[in-house]
């Protein structure tokens, strides 16, 4: 099967499509990971922060006299002093027109705007001593009225958090296409609901961690950082500390989970690099779990009022939504906190052919932990709203929900297609995916089982969720708005002296399997056994310039750069081989680590011999020939601003109407991410993502009281999914390759999280609907379910 657009897929001895185990996983299994806190530098100090205990309060005085004299304390630094080393930042992007935010400092100056904002840094010999001293800092506060509730943040009587901004509206977007009012007026049925998606957060098992060292004699800053985007941070550290960018080295070695939590700029982390520069000593900060809950970015926190018009034949006629989201006191730098609301507007209704669409999204400031992009940004909200409306519409016209989807999903032969919001879809497979899903789950038999159990008082529900997922973003995502966030990525591959290859990539590894798939692609493109490949990631000193890993870009963008670098190196090796063998390079190929005759595969010379001659016996090569055995190539998507993927999930649940508990019986996912480089790794991305989505649907919630105090700041209070309550998850694939790249791969990292909450909520409501109850607030806790059932008071 020869494919002219994707010749890399026709390579002999290909590793693409094989479930190769991850080469770097053995080290982690042996307890030999190298996470930031595993690194100790000479003369290192630990930092702890005195943080604001209030959601909104003015700093009157800071007295660190007692703290400074405690054992081990080296230095105490407050906001004004640190501001002389580190300039403030403002998290806005020009393409989110009108988005505003206020200057944010590493340590609060004058006032604190959320509970947990860092105010004073204490440097000490041990972390415990630093924490002792941080607790001994006396801060006199003038407590201000907090803006806790997003719903009243714009009221005239609500205080304005940043006087300079005039009001608490960070950003607003409105959108309208088609004839919305006419479509609603002429509809056979209209369904309407308010959807709540609670605040939750990533809970990376390794907390945020950073270790910075500054060498004044060379003006060199080295930062070991648990982060997803080393080059982005290199730029920001240099910019805000007044350093030359090439003098800043950021190393992201093993990262203990990220999920978008570790792709942002955090004030306490900026404080750490500033303190390293200020003191000339290495400074380490490891967030504790309380700090994680109150200062890692939160996500979601959307209230969406939505309605859908539908015809009797099941055709979706129109959708209208109004989204309100509270983002905390600042738009987070540099990606901004407007993107999630923007995605909600963009993605609502995206799998369907609906053309009549009206949307408004308002993004407001409040005195809670800053909110920003977390895995699947906007998708879980848009999908929960769209798919919830679809199920309600199906119920309203008494049509099976799978059938209503079949009647509205974009046809598989209708591509390229465009959504009402202008999103362009190169090729999707909604119908094939739906058919596959229904077959996998045995939909009809499951419906029959559900009906027969209902008669016995057992309330089970089936929920479906179709969706599109944004992956492989071009510069249209961030770069166009002025952020120095690279959409392109690079790969450098070098033939080593023993015939193996070393591959340095700009995309990073946080456990997804980046190093495995880059090794698979490199081995395939060059033509060597995968055991002969070593992959290097996460060091701005050694890898080509790139964006890192986020927005499901590692395989699609990093992988394609690797294809092109590998092919270039293969050609360079064949130039040397041709010279040695007195053969035309185009009659030769590289297979299984040896140069062969392309025609019949006969082995001619090993790569170790090529390397030996090129590196050690160049005297035997012609004088007019110079061997080049390293190649670098970069790639950025060009034809489409984003490579949209699609998927569909189903959840089967049982609701205990006495306790309100939801038992997850099974979950299915069909995912189309184009070329599947490593099926097992894609499956595991989907499974992990599904479980994070289930967490949002059922458990995870950052709960605040009315004064802006976070009430769920331990792992005993903030519930994350545990093994016992999770279902087995069956995963299948469709393959619609992107023609934007030779590899044809799209992203898969966020699909699970995008679709799972909608599938679970729809399943719960499918179980509850005959009882006259509905729950559209996430997490769908037992309390909310029992309230909906009228079993406990509202």
């Amino acid at each position: 099967m020869s494919d002219p657009l994707h010749p890399i897929l026709d390579r002999p001895n290909s590793y693409i499509g094989r479930s190769v185990p991850r080469p770097n996983a053995r080290r982690l299994l042996a307890g030999r990971g190298r996470y930031v806190d595993d690194i100790t530098l000479p003369r290192m100090l630990h930092v702890a922060f005195a943080r604001s205990p209030y959601a909104h309060a003015r700093i009157v005085t800071i007295d660190s006299t007692a703290a400074a004299t405690l054992p081990g304390v080296a230095r105490v630094v407050a906001g004004a002093e640190l501001a002389e080393v580190c300039t403030p930042w403002v998290g806005v992007l020009s393409h989110l027109e009108g988005l505003k935010s206020a200057p944010q400092h590493a340590l609060a100056v004058d006032k604190a705007t959320w509970q947990g904002e860092p105010v004073v840094a204490v440097l000490a010999a041990t972390r415990a001593q630093a924490e002792d001293a941080a607790a001994a800092i006396e801060i006199e506060w003038d407590e201000l009225a907090p803006v806790a509730d997003a719903a009243t943040a714009l009221d005239a009587t609500t205080p304005v958090i940043h006087d300079s901004l005039g009001d608490n509206l960070a950003w607003q977007r409105t959108f309208e296409a088609g004839e919305v009012d006419a479509a609603f007026d002429g509809a056979d049925a209209v369904v309407e609901q308010t959807f709540e998606v609670g605040r939750h957060t990533g809970v990376t098992l390794e907390p945020r961690a950073i270790l910075a060292a500054y060498e004044a004699s060379e003006e060199q800053l080295t930062v070991y950082h648990s982060h997803q985007a080393p080059h982005m941070m290199q730029n920001l550290f240099a910019l805000h500390l007044g350093l030359e960018e090439h003098n800043v080295r950021v190393v992201c070695a093993d990262v203990g989970g990220s999920f978008g939590i570790k792709v942002h700029t955090y004030p306490d982390e900026m404080a750490v690099v500033a303190l390293a520069k200020l003191t000339g000593r290495p400074v380490k900060f490891i967030a504790d779990r309380l700090e994680s809950f109150s200062t890692d970015i939160h996500a979601r926190d959307h209230t969406v009022t939505a309605r859908m018009a539908v015809a009797r034949d099941g055709t979706i006629r129109a959708i209208e939504i109004d989204d309100l989201t509270g983002i905390g006191p600042y738009s987070v730098y540099p990606r901004t906190s407007g993107i999630e609301a923007n995605q909600v507007v963009n993605l609502i209704g995206a799998p369907y052919g609906n053309t009549n669409y009206r949307a408004r999204a308002r993004v407001v400031f409040q005195n809670k932990t800053p909110m920003c992009q977390y895995r699947a940004v906007g998708h879980p909200i848009a999908v929960a709203v769209t798919e919830g409306l679809v199920d309600m519409a199906a119920a309203a016209i008494a049509m099976d929900p799978a059938e209503l989807r079949r009647r509205n999903l974009l046809a598989d032969d209708a591509y390229p297609a465009q959504a009402a919001t202008g999103l362009r879809f190169e090729r999707l497979s909604h119908h094939a995916s739906l058919d596959k899903l229904l077959e996998m789950m045995g939909y009809d038999a499951l419906r029959a089982e559900q009906a027969s159990l209902r008669d016995k008082g057992i309330h089970r529900g089936i929920g479906l969720a179709s969706f599109v997922e944004l992956t492989n973003p071009s510069a249209m995502f961030y770069g166009v708005g002025g952020a120095r966030i690279s959409a392109q990525d690079g790969c450098t591959i070098r033939l080593d002296a023993k015939g193996s290859i070393i591959c340095a990539t700009g995309v990073t590894e946080q456990g997804q399997g980046t190093e495995a798939i880059i090794a698979q692609v490199a081995a395939t493109a060059v033509g060597v056994p995968i055991e002969k490949v070593r992959v290097v990631t996460g060091d701005t000193d050694t890898v080509p310039y790139g964006g890192g890993t986020w927005a499901s870009r590692g395989a699609g963008i990093g992988g394609e750069a690797t294809v092109q670098a590998g092919k270039a190196l293969r050609e360079q090796i064949l130039q040397v081989a041709g010279t040695i063998l007195q053969a035309a390079p185009d009659t030769l190929d590289i297979r299984a680590g040896a140069v062969v005759d392309a025609a019949d595969g006969r082995e001619r010379v090993g790569l170790d011999e090529i390397a030996r001659v090129a590196y050690f016996r160049a005297d035997t090569l012609p004088k007019d020939f110079q061997s080049e055995l390293v190649a670098t190539r970069h790639y950025v998507p060009k034809q489409f601003p984003f490579a949209f993927t699609n998927g569909i999930q189903a959840s089967y649940v049982e609701v205990d109407t006495e306790t309100g508990a939801v038992r997850l019986l099974k979950h299915w996912a069909v995912e189309d991410c184009g070329t599947v480089i490593n099926p097992q790794l894609v499956d595991e991305q989907v499974r992990g993502g599904v479980v994070q989505g289930i967490g949002a649907a059922l458990f995870e919630h950052c709960v605040y009281d009315e004064t802006g105090q976070l009430l769920t700041a331990t792992m005993a209070d903030y519930l994350v999914p545990m093994a016992f309550e999770m279902p087995d998850i069956e995963v299948a694939h469709m393959v619609s390759m992107t023609e934007d790249s030779e590899l044809g791969a799209k992203g898969a990292g966020e699909a699970g999280t995008a679709g799972a909450p909608a599938a679970v909520l729809n399943a719960i409501n499918d179980a509850l609907r005959p009882l006259g109850a509905e729950v559209w607030a996430q997490p769908a806790t037992p309390e909310r379910i029992l309230t909906a059932l009228g079993k406990i008071g509202r």
């Binding site: 479930s19 185990p21 991850r22 996983a25 053995r26 982690l28 299994l29 042996a30 307890g31 030999r32 990971g33 996470y35 806190d37 595993d38 100790t40 054992p71 415990a128 001593q129 002792d132 990533g202 809970v203 990376t204 098992l205 390794e206 907390p207 093993d254 990262v255 203990g256 989970g257 990220s258 999920f259 490891i286 504790d288 779990r289 946080q510 456990g511 997804q512 399997g513 097992q680 790794l681 595991e684 499974r687 992990g688 993502g689 599904v690 479980v691 994070q692 331990t714 792992m715 005993a716 994350v720 999914p721 545990m722 093994a723 016992f724 309550e725 999770m726 087995d728 998850i729 699970g752």
Partner: protein, 159 residues
């Protein structure tokens, strides 16, 4: 509070003498005192299981035991259990099945799985899931971990 206390214990088969502060947790002592960084710190309040180590053969939360409590006791960490080879089949199954992503929970998962299999040679998937519920994993969704442990249980029974 920072008064040093001398302790003597066995860690991964080696005799260790050290001075620790009274308040230092066992996992902090192992990580910072002995540079055994394979045991991870996730929550420091006994919920997540990333700091799981063995104390006298039983798995415990390294963040809920003080280093001084290990005086005179025997401690094993992932480094010791890995180097001795006793986890080799579990490690191989986790590797093949990709039952880890970021790897932060993995040392605790392996020691917990080993403890389960020591007491229950043929656990059901539900029993495996229950045994793992004291160890959080944010990456995998658990399914692959259950698969890997189930496979090792079967292999060990057949040996």
């Amino acid at each position: 509070m920072d008064d040093d206390i001398e302790i003597a214990l066995t860690v991964n088969g080696e005799a260790v003498r050290a001075r620790v502060t009274a308040r230092q947790s066992l996992v902090d002592f192992l990580r910072y005192g002995l540079e055994l960084t394979g045991s991870h710190v996730g929550c420091e309040h006994g919920v997540c299981g990333a700091c799981t180590v063995r104390l006298n053969g039983e798995i415990v939360r390294g963040c809920l035991v003080f280093a001084v409590q290990a005086d005179g006791q025997t401690v094993e960490t992932i480094e010791g259990a890995s180097d001795s080879g006793e986890l080799a089949d579990l490690q191989a199954a986790f590797h093949e099945r990709n039952a880890l992503q970021c790897g932060y929970c993995t040392p605790g998962m392996l020691l917990t799985a080993q403890a389960l299999l020591a007491t229950n040679a043929s656990p059901s998937r539900g029993e495996i899931r229950e045994a793992l519920s004291a160890n959080y994993c944010r990456c995998t969704g658990y399914h692959a971990i259950v698969d890997a442990i189930e496979r090792v249980a079967t292999e060990r029974r057949q040996r």
